[in-house]
């Protein structure tokens, strides 16, 4: 493992922020390993995205606008990544720890006979050996996982864990040939974006989450959303709120939902059961508002305000908005 290769997931040239976090981190890792930093971006919109990517401190961006990447599930991407990995040579492959990223990482483990460390929030390079630091078991443990020497190794990256910083002298954008003689098994017939225009929960630097204590769906829109927007964050929910149908499951944080680690987590009307705790306890700062000063969340909040969230939240939103303007 000498070089670093970043897989850029995108749709029509639109990519999540974690791509740029990886592009920035790739440079640092490549310098420590004494190799180059590459990125692979394929599918419709790739060239357009490459224009942005080349402003990050990468050496080469490999591009192909191949339509079949969107028409078939996963297979074309894996073939391109295999070809790029072979062309670049022994490398550390960085992939975002998202639903798609996990699939890509898994297929590459088999394709390249490579080890994988998942959900890294930090790295250490010791004598050419790559070590990834990862919170595990919902933050109950911090593990250090080393990739054993081999041609290829894969690390999936937790969104929001690394800084994104454009810079460098401009990467070379190179066309990558479509791997020949491949057949693709799974056809995508319909691809629907359910984008609410909101920031993705896993990427949000601030999460304002609501639970059973909110009593219904309305407060998510009228109380939580304004505060989340004022803080530049996103709205999340506990399982109780999702199970009650107040919010879609895509907003659920916890064991059976998403794991988030924003800089600031505000838990509103959430008791803090284990189910929820494991999805958010590695957040930077945790603030809770709850009627009950004895609820479990008191044990892992940096600040617990005991009081009426319905009254406090609008006041807090006003204070934050005033500070911003």
């Amino acid at each position: 493992m000498k070089h670093v290769l970043v897989y850029v997931a995108h749709k029509g040239g639109v990519t999540p922020k974690v791509t740029f976090e990886m592009a920035t981190q790739a440079r640092k890792l490549a310098d420590q390993l004494g190799g180059q930093a590459h990125a692979v971006v394929v599918g419709p919109g790739a060239s357009q995205l490459a224009d942005t990517l080349k402003t990050f401190p990468l050496d080469v961006v490999h591009v192909n606008d191949d339509k079949e990447v969107d028409a078939f599930l996963l297979d074309p991407v894996i073939d391109y990544l295999e070809a790029a990995a072979k062309a670049v040579g022994p490398s550390l492959i960085l992939i975002a720890n998202t639903l798609t990223g996990k699939d890509v990482a898994g297929r590459l483990v088999g394709r390249l006979n490579a080890g994988v460390c998942a959900d890294a929030t930090d790295f250490k390079i010791e004598g050419g050996k790559v070590e990834a630091i990862m919170p595990k078991m919902g933050g109950a443990a911090v593990t250090t996982c080393a990739l054993r020497p081999g041609d290829y190794g894969i690390v999936t990256i937790r969104p929001n864990a690394f800084a994104a910083q454009a810079g460098g002298s401009g990467a070379a954008v190179q066309a990558i040939d479509k791997p020949a003689g491949k057949t693709y098994a799974v056809a995508v017939e319909n691809d629907v974006e359910e984008g609410t225009g909101e920031l993705a929960l896993e990427e949000a630097p601030v999460v304002v989450a609501g639970g059973r204590g909110l009593g219904g769906p309305e407060p998510f829109d009228t109380l939580l959303k304004p505060l989340a927007h004022a803080l530049g964050g996103a709205v999340g929910a506990s399982r109780a709120a999702a199970d009650a149908g107040w919010v879609p499951y895509s907003l659920q944080i916890g064991q059976t939902g998403k794991t988030v680690s924003p800089n600031l987590y505000i838990a509103v009307g959430i008791s803090g059961a284990i189910q929820h705790k494991v999805g958010m306890r590695s957040s930077g700062t945790i603030v809770a508002i709850n009627k009950d000063g004895q609820s479990p969340i008191a044990d892992f909040s940096d600040l617990l305000v005991v009081g009426d969230a319905f009254a406090i939240l609008p006041e807090l939103t006003k204070l934050v908005q005033a500070a911003k303007s």
Partner: protein, 262 residues
């Protein structure tokens, strides 16, 4: 049609997990081993498909676990699976994602399947990469996060959740799929199911039967766990009793300001 569901046996996720600071290992004492909750959803999907397809469709549960945990698999049989295969071998201990997928895929080739359903995530490791690696070694298409499935002949019509919405895809059989939690809540085992499970077969399988050409277990793995530590302690925070809304809001605002979060 033969449906195989892989299940993992994990420490009860509802129990608080603790790391023993001396041994640096997970404290398992007093923590029951259960079916990985995500895998119960995979099993539920398999049972629903069996009901939908009918005929001679069978559901086999496959697990890689120490033989001592064999009885935990009875729960899957009680929920409605027809039989089970348990791959147990001391040589598998400490296998990483690569080694696990490599061994499991060889075992599954032996077991045989038309549709393989793999639980999406494991509660203890949360890597999410294993299904992809298994599909790759089996040279079988992979469709993940499926929330709706229809089978017509040898074709699957699937609706899957993506990072930003959902997709409708068409896949051939044989196929590997993982299920989203929205596929359906796992059913409870009925009393009849629990009684019936006692008579169902759990067939043993060991590594020497798989014809592996590479070493597995911790020695054969491509990654190495160097440290396993409790997270930096989060000291007990401040508790403020808000006399009124303005005071409560101000307390939070001042705190955020102090931490440079606003």
């Amino acid at each position: 049609m033969k449906i195989v569901v892989t299940v993992k046996l994990v420490p009860d996720p509802n129990a608080e997990k603790r790391i023993d600071s001396g041994t640096k290992r997970l404290v398992r004492t007093g923590v029951e081993t259960v079916l990985n909750p995500y895998d119960e959803y995979a099993l539920e999907a398999a049972l629903q498909l069996k009901e939908k397809i009918g005929g001679d469709t069978t559901v086999t549960v496959f697990s890689m676990a120490p033989e001592s945990l064999k009885e935990t698999l009875r729960k899957a049989l009680a929920m409605g699976a027809d039989d089970a295969v348990l791959l147990s071998d001391a040589g598998l201990e400490g296998s990483d994602v690569w080694a696990t997928a490599y061994a499991i895929s060889h075992a599954l080739k032996k077991v045989g399947f038309d549709l393989l359903i793999v639980g999406g995530l494991s509660d203890d490791g949360s890597t999410g990469a294993t299904p992809g690696a298994i599909a790759e070694y089996l040279q079988t298409p992979l469709v993940t996060n499926v929330r709706k499935a229809d089978v017509t002949g040898a074709t699957l019509k699937l609706e899957r959740e993506t990072d930003t919405g959902y997709q409708d895809v068409v896949a051939p059989l044989p196929c590997v799929m993982t299920t989203a939690l929205t596929f359906g809540e796992p059913r409870y085992a009925s009393l009849k199911g629990i009684m019936g499970a006692k008579k169902k077969t759990i067939a043993p399988l060991n590594v020497s039967e798989l014809g592996l050409s590479e070493a597995v277990g911790s020695g054969g793995s491509k990654t190495e766990l160097l440290a396993f530590a409790p997270p930096p302690a989060r000291g007990k925070g401040t508790v403020v009793e808000a006399a009124d809304a303005a005071q409560g809001a101000q307390a939070i605002f001042d705190f955020l300001k102090e931490r440079k979060l606003v």
